[in-house]
């Protein structure tokens, strides 16, 4: 099929304008507004104690949630791709639940379970563990929302490489553990890396579920996204933009990592 030259130009213009209005202009404006009053003001705004704490908390939560989900994701992907057990289809569908449920509902459901009057929260509170309105709750919410990424990236890679290499390793005398470390993991590493990058992006950017369970206590349970919201609500627009720009820089970093990993993952290059 040949498309008329005029049509092609028209379609390109529409596509670019769509991207520009929805993506490039808003993100660009955030950066423009951020640096409108000079770099010094921005620096002051992102080095206040609250901002530093928010940044640290965000990194801390990510550093706990992402490794947990990576471990879980690899084990689950192996079970889905290699295992034969009843209820596999159901489990496969359940993995996507965090994508399907609104983050705010996730937050509320966590309160129902782990809140002081919740199903488990009372017992935990008696044991001296506070989950909701505290860091553990933020970690739980972040784990929940970023759960599917590694599973979803690794399962198709495992299915594609098949189990012949693993069988060959077994006939050569390797036990399951040796086979996993020497054969399976190197074969899926780019899939894992891509899943990790997506999880990091999601963990850092999560707002809805964290907003419900954190209590938004400045200097205690306030993450970077919550800081942006608070500053915006307090009409501290410059401060909100500065924190947003910081988030956007992290996002651009993950985007760069994805761009570097994606072709290797798709080629199955090793």
């Amino acid at each position: 099929m040949t498309v008329d030259r005029g049509w092609r130009l028209g379609l390109r213009t529409v596509a670019l304008a769509y991207l520009a209005l929805l993506l490039l202009v808003p993100v660009g404006l955030v950066f423009y507004r951020t640096f409108e009053h000079g770099v010094g003001a921005v620096w002051d705004s992102i080095t206040t104690p609250a901002a530093i704490h928010a940044f640290q908390l965000t990194l801390e939560v990510t550093a706990i949630a992402v490794p947990l989900n990576t471990l879980f994701g690899i084990v689950m992907a192996l079970a889905l791709a290699r295992g034969r057990f009843p209820g596999k289809a159901l489990l496969d569908a359940l993995i996507d639940l965090p994508f399907a449920i609104s983050p705010i509902v996730i937050g509320l459901s966590l309160i129902l379970v782990y809140g002081v009057h919740g199903w488990l929260g009372g017992a935990l509170a008696d044991a001296g563990v506070q989950v909701i309105f505290s860091v553990p709750g933020i970690v739980l919410a972040t784990v929940f929302v970023s759960l599917p990424f590694v599973v979803r990236e690794v399962t198709p890679v495992l299915r594609e490489i098949g189990d012949e290499q693993e069988q060959a390793a077994a006939t050569l005398g390797a036990n399951r553990w040796q086979t996993f470390w020497r054969i399976t993991l190197p074969a899926i590493r780019w899939g894992v890396a891509y899943g990790v990058v997506l999880s990091v992006a999601r963990a850092i950017g999560e707002f809805g579920a964290v907003s419900v369970v954190s209590g938004k206590i400045s200097g205690k349970t306030e993450t970077l996204t919550l800081l942006v919201e608070k500053r915006y609500g307090n009409f501290d627009l410059a401060g909100a933009y500065a924190a947003s720009a910081l988030l956007a820089v992290i996002a651009l970093g993950t985007l760069l990592a994805m761009t570097l990993i994606k072709p290797r993952r798709e080629e199955g290059e090793t």
Partner: protein, 318 residues
Amino acid sequence: MISVAGVTKKFGDYVALDDVSLDVPDGSLTALLGPSGSGKSTLLRIIGGLESPDAGRVEIHGEDATPITPQKRGIGFVFQHYAAFKHMTVRDNVAFGLKVRKRPKDEIRDRVDELLAIVGLAGYQTRYPSQLSGGQRQRMALARALAVEPKVLLLDEPFGALDARVRADLREWLRKLHDEVHVTTLLVTHDQEEAMSIADQIAVMDNSRIEQVGAPRELYDRPATPFVMSFLGPVSQVGEALVRPHDISLTPHAEGDGAREAMVSRVVHLGFEVRVELMLTDGSAVTAQLTRTEADELELSRGDIVWLRTAGSATLPV
């Protein structure tokens, strides 16, 4: 020696192997020959421990191997699609079995170099599998399997993914290698020419059972069933019997008893061999294979009437 006794394997309702027994003599190269779906790969995988039988047992060198995992069976397994470790160099691929056995580094290096020389890949140590041709990858896989000094070598359609010429070359090469290394080898193939040209012994499989076991010549000359006869070479049906096309002789006149009248419907010259398609008086079609000299003497052409008789050992009633 590999000894399989009464092995049955089902996948759901499908019976992949039905009470199969087979002996593979020490130091032999035995081929498991059969059409796809006949159960030959399943049998090989059961011997290798990659599948477990529902009934029956597998012995390797007199020891019951049925409960032993593939890791401990002392087998070398070569897969149709090479199963090369893509992220490892040729050296690391071949060294894999020795590394998991924690052998000294010097010993591993020497052994790998020696094996790569045997399979004709000396100098390829630092390449990756993606930089090798299909035939080279399979030779690497063979070196990898031989590195752990297996008691038996199991090859699952090892040349099935290669093109015809490389396949023929590698077939010759494998036979020579076997004559040097002498490891008891079982090779699965659906290619009767491959089985005939390299195996000491062939087990023909069909429909989840072994139809016949014997030396190539024996199977060709004295097939036990019509299936074995037709799978090992071309056949023609003359009346109530199956014969090889080269066991049909033609004469221009009726001589003696038992000759059948036939009309030449086509003559095909294939170099030295001449294929004559005939029609019998009952309307059935028969193909005869003559040498060029024989055909020239008869001066056959389409529409001629000839007399046909059958000779030779491989004749089976239908």
